[in-house]
């Protein structure tokens, strides 16, 4: 995979595994560096240098973990949806492998959001868990992540697995959207509204806003970094399978 490739004329050419490996290999160090800086600065700023909230006390510091992980958890599924649709429509293997690679990252982010939400909820609401629309749809999203990974693992033929998991991904997208907009749809439950919004009026106070934004950038960077690493692994594993299959035939 080391020969020089001609300059791509379209974005779709990055669906070529060799092109993807070349581009992702060159990008990885920058993504890793940016992510490390953003995570360290954001988390250190949020943890050490922001004041307590007048109502929530020091538990407000959990916002720097809970909000970014929840946002990444939802958007990871939406990224998987886009990648799955590309697979279904254009049959690009790299997109199916990227969707597969994203699932454990999304599941971990969902787990972090659920765990930090429970830890935050206990002192604030007096309960670790409530069957609130947003929490429930988030739990269902987590189960969809587990189901998606189990389906990939259960089917031996990669193309069949990609087809079936893509369909599951489309169905699960309903819960990804629900977990984001549950509050708007039902207007009930314990969970508060959006902490970050394009509408300045709805945002958290400025003193929490900037470190939160940097943490968000760090979590998104972490997601991208892991997608690149894991997709590269999947591309290599696929090539290995193909070579082994060719060996068996000769």
């Amino acid at each position: 995979m080391s020969e020089k490739l001609p300059r791509p004329s379209s974005l779709w050419e990055y669906a070529n595994p060799r092109r993807f490996m070349a581009l992702s290999g060159a990008t990885l160090p920058f993504v890793a560096a940016g992510t490390t800086v953003a995570l360290i600065v954001g988390l250190a700023w949020g943890f050490f240098f922001t004041p307590d909230d007048y109502r929530q006390g020091s538990t407000v510091k959990i916002i720097y973990l809970h909000v970014p992980s929840a946002m990444v958890a939802i958007n990871a599924w939406l990224m998987m949806l886009v990648a799955s649709l590309i697979w279904l429509i254009r049959r690009h293997h790299v997109s199916a492998l990227a969707a597969k690679a994203a699932a454990p990252v999304g599941a971990t982010m969902t787990m972090i959001a659920l765990a930090t939400g429970a830890i935050w909820g206990q002192p604030m609401w007096g309960a670790w868990w409530a069957w609130d629309p947003r929490l429930t749809s988030f739990l269902v999203l987590f189960l969809f992540y587990l189901g998606y990974m189990a389906l990939w693992a259960a089917i031996e033929n990669d193309d069949t697995a990609a087809d079936l998991t893509a369909v599951l991904c489309i169905v699960g997208s309903v819960f990804a959207v629900l977990s984001r907009y549950a509050l708007v749809f039902w207007n009930q439950g314990l969970h508060q509204g959006a902490s970050l919004s394009l509408d300045k009026e709805e945002n958290v106070s400025d003193v929490f806003y900037w470190p939160l934004l940097i943490c968000l950038a760090g979590f998104v960077g972490f997601f991208v970094l892991l997608i690149l690493i894991r997709t590269r692994t999947e591309v290599r594993a696929r090539r290995m399978k193909a070579l082994q299959a060719r060996e068996r035939m000769t």
């Binding site: 988390l43 943890f47 050490f48 307590d52 006390g57 020091s58 538990t59 510091k61 959990i62 973990l65 809970h66 992980s69 454990p104 990252v105 971990t108 787990m111 972090i112 765990a115 930090t116 830890i119 935050w120 206990q122 002192p123 972490f222 892991l226 690493i229 894991r230 590269r232 692994t233 290599r236 594993a237 090539r239 290995m240 070579l243 082994q244 060996e247």
Partner: protein, 60 residues
Amino acid sequence: MMPDLGKYAVEVLSAYAVTIALMLALLLLSLRQSAKTRSALREVEAARQAKATAKGKADG
């Protein structure tokens, strides 16, 4: 340096501990899996190359 977390110290610290542990575990697992796959692929490619070279010598 350590901020005064008051009566919620356990909650805040455990939230950070859980998050950092899960993120680190995922990163390390991904890196380990990547290294394993890369070396396995290298072995398969080397074996294939060796086979092709041997075949080339035998043919001509």
